[in-house]
């Protein structure tokens, strides 16, 4: 049968928008199938860990018993009641430094991911919607970035601009935006011919408005999942950069640079192990949470189906 007549009832864009906007939120709550995120034990643990770290970061001055930058004559003290995680080569309290490190790593990771999502998202949206030259140009640009291993490119960018916190964040945004651009672009492409978009256009809705009100809400879901996964990666890449001396400047209490300091003499295991564990827990938690979110929002990955 061939379709000759238009649908008897043209979809009301408002109704459709409301429906689609709820689509991914609904899945999050368990609307389609399976258990919602907060009923999965491992995701709950991850959430608890992240909540804990967030609290630690916010309350750092109250949690940390010492000034994270204060040096003392008590160098390389092993973990004890006075210094829970021991002290480093300059007699600084490692527990206090790990606690204050959360204030750097977590907000910076959030900043990196939100900036990358913003830049990549906007470019992906425009490319997917406009197609043709804009699309082609953007895809080649992402190819260019993907051609390099992330950490190598980030190192090159930081080394070129000079090592400090701002440039490290900038470098990591530069290496991570293309992922979002591609995800959003493909989502936009898949809905380009959708009836409700055509209908909106027929009603005289301009491209900016269409992008904002119709396309974005329907394509942002997968990008949000990806962003959660990428948060862990951002913490890790930032730590790697500062491990290499390309991150926040010393004496800042950054986990990666703390691991680097300890790696000079591994017989003082506590100097690098505790910041290493901090990185481990945060990265694991973001990954587990991202996985759980993806299971909810993308049925292809869902377990047992």
């Amino acid at each position: 049968m061939t379709m000759i007549a238009p649908d008897p009832v043209a979809p009301d864009p408002k109704v459709d928008r409301a429906l689609t906007r709820r689509r991914w939120l609904g899945r999050l709550r368990g609307g389609s199938a399976g258990r919602p995120v907060w009923r999965q034990p491992i995701a709950v643990v991850a959430l608890a860990i992240l909540g804990g770290w967030l609290l630690v970061a916010i309350l750092a001055p109250l949690v940390a018993p010492y000034d994270p930058l204060a040096q003392s004559a008590d160098t390389y003290a092993a973990p004890s009641a006075t210094h829970w995680f021991g002290t480093d080569s300059l007699g600084r309290d490692i527990f206090s430094r790990v606690v204050h490190g959360a204030r750097l790593s977590i907000p910076l990771a959030l900043a990196i991911v939100s900036l990358a999502l913003l830049v990549g998202g906007l470019l992906g949206l425009v490319a997917g919607y406009l197609g043709r030259f804009a699309d082609e140009a953007l895809m080649r640009l992402t190819d260019l970035v993907f051609a390099f291993p992330q950490i190598i490119l980030a190192m090159a960018v930081t080394a070129a601009f000079g090592p400090n916190t701002r440039n490290a964040v900038l470098a990591l945004v530069i290496v991570s935006w293309p992922v979002y651009a591609r995800v959003i672009r493909s989502a936009v492409l898949s809905m380009r011919g959708d009836d409700y978009l055509n209908a909106a256009r027929l009603l005289g809705v301009g491209p900016v408005r269409a992008l904002r009100r119709d396309v974005l809400p329907n394509s942002i879901g997968p990008a949000i999942v990806l962003a959660t996964l990428e948060l862990g990666n951002a913490v890790l890449l930032l730590a790697a950069l500062s491990f290499l001396g390309l991150g926040p400047r010393p004496p800042a209490a950054e986990w990666g640079s703390m691991v680097a300091l300890g790696s000079q003499d591994l017989s003082m295991w506590w100097v690098s192990v505790f910041p290493g564990l901090a990185i481990l827990t945060v990265v694991m938690a973001f990954n587990v949470l991202g996985d759980a979110l993806r299971d909810r929002l993308d049925p292809r990955y869902a377990k047992g189906r």
């Binding site: 300059l90 992922v179 862990g232 400047r249 691991v259 591994l266």
Partner: protein, 535 residues
Amino acid sequence: MSVSPRRLRAGALALATLAIISTTACTAGGSGGNANGGEAKTLTVNTSFVLKTLDPGRVYEATGLTAVHALYDTLLTFEGSDVGKPVPALAESYEASPDAKTFTFKLRSGVTFADGSPLTADDVVFSLNRLKNIKGSPAVTVSELSVSKTDDSTVVVTSATPNPNVPVVLAMPSTGVLNAEVARDNGAKDGADAAQGDTAQQYLDTNSIGSGPYVLASYEPESQVVLEANPNYWGEKPQFERVVLRNMDVQTQKLTMQRAESAEISLDISGKLLDGLPESLQTSGVQDTVYFLFLNADPGVSAVTSNPKFNQALRAAIDYQGIAALYGQGAAPGAGLVAPAFPGTLPASEASTRDVAKAKALLAEAGLTDPTVKFNYPAITYKGVDLGTVATKVQGDAAEAGITLELNPQPLTTFLDEMRSGKSPLGFTPQSLNYPVADSLINNMAPGQATALRSGWTVERADPAIVAAGEKVTETLDLAARAAAMQEWQRLMNQSSPYIVLASNSSTVVATADLTGADYSAAGWQVDVAAVGRK
């Protein structure tokens, strides 16, 4: 999408667990024992290779110097750890003219190269002329010297300016004597235009044509260099028939030495890394490196660092004892610019001390409230010490006196570029001498000299007493008096120069208990492998 979330996650844990993995890897790694199957006649020397060539005329790097010293004899040499007085080698005696310009060397008779041909004055003249004229990195030490022979066993070296340290220069491995005939056959040139014409490096990297206690058996610059005893050696034969220089990173050296039983040496375990080594191992070290801050004396670069009161205040603010502790075993608080290994060093009793109250008073006097300075340093580990850790300690010390230092770690090349441009307001650098004479410090760091100008230290900005004291060192030809003049110069430098000496630390030779003669030498070759024997 080319980066899958799964792959991201797989990579994600790698660095997070780095610390833990590498801690456990320690117990699993390491080769242990003598790597050459317990051959009793092989000495193994582990070092992190800094090796570009084994051509004596071009050798400038630590590993190359160790090998070249064993392959080629020089006119004079140093024994053990003593770098105070050169002793005879190819020259059985020498005479210096009173004006310290002419040095006459009498060659030992009966010396042959490893191939059996006799070593004559012609070979010495050829080798020294080649060193000077190919203008490689080590040529700077002989640029003022010219050499000639009066007969087959007498060589005369003349210096354009009075220089009582010519004998020391002629003990350096780069002055090693090559078999001139074989060298010429393989492209070596000694004429004034040798810099363009000499093509012998490739040959000399893989063949040794000297008269030293060892000959080169194999050269693999990435992994190992093997030396074998010279069957025709003119002197006392070395105890070990083979010496294997193995390329090994410093952490692995430490693990290897923890298990080594016999005939094994490591050259790079120093400072904090010495902690935790078994008691049975023997160590030999000499404090031959100083670490200092340089403040820019040019008000155009920094109004703060060029202020003499700030200079004094920063000197008083630093905890020299605490910094020496960061360097671990074999380190000492800074005294003067000349490291303790060399003649003319200041005694340990004159080490700088801390006085925070004085620092604060000086700052108040100068009307400086919360002075803030950018503090450049190279982000490297040098002789087992992370320079960033030391810089952070300096920052902490300065903060207690009310001085804010903004730490600015730089890649080594960036750091050097900025230092050379004279734009660093405050910097931190190690300094080792390229031959064991402190004169070069005056030639470089006295007011108006090349290094001093990088800190904006012109003669006009300097205390005239310092200028005079520096000139006095150069004019004094008697070595003992010269050393005393050098001390006086350093005392004045410690009062108002742009240099603040933080600490000195040592390079260390770590050896298994069965060895003798494994002494660290600050003369460049680190250890004289031919002098190493068994108890």
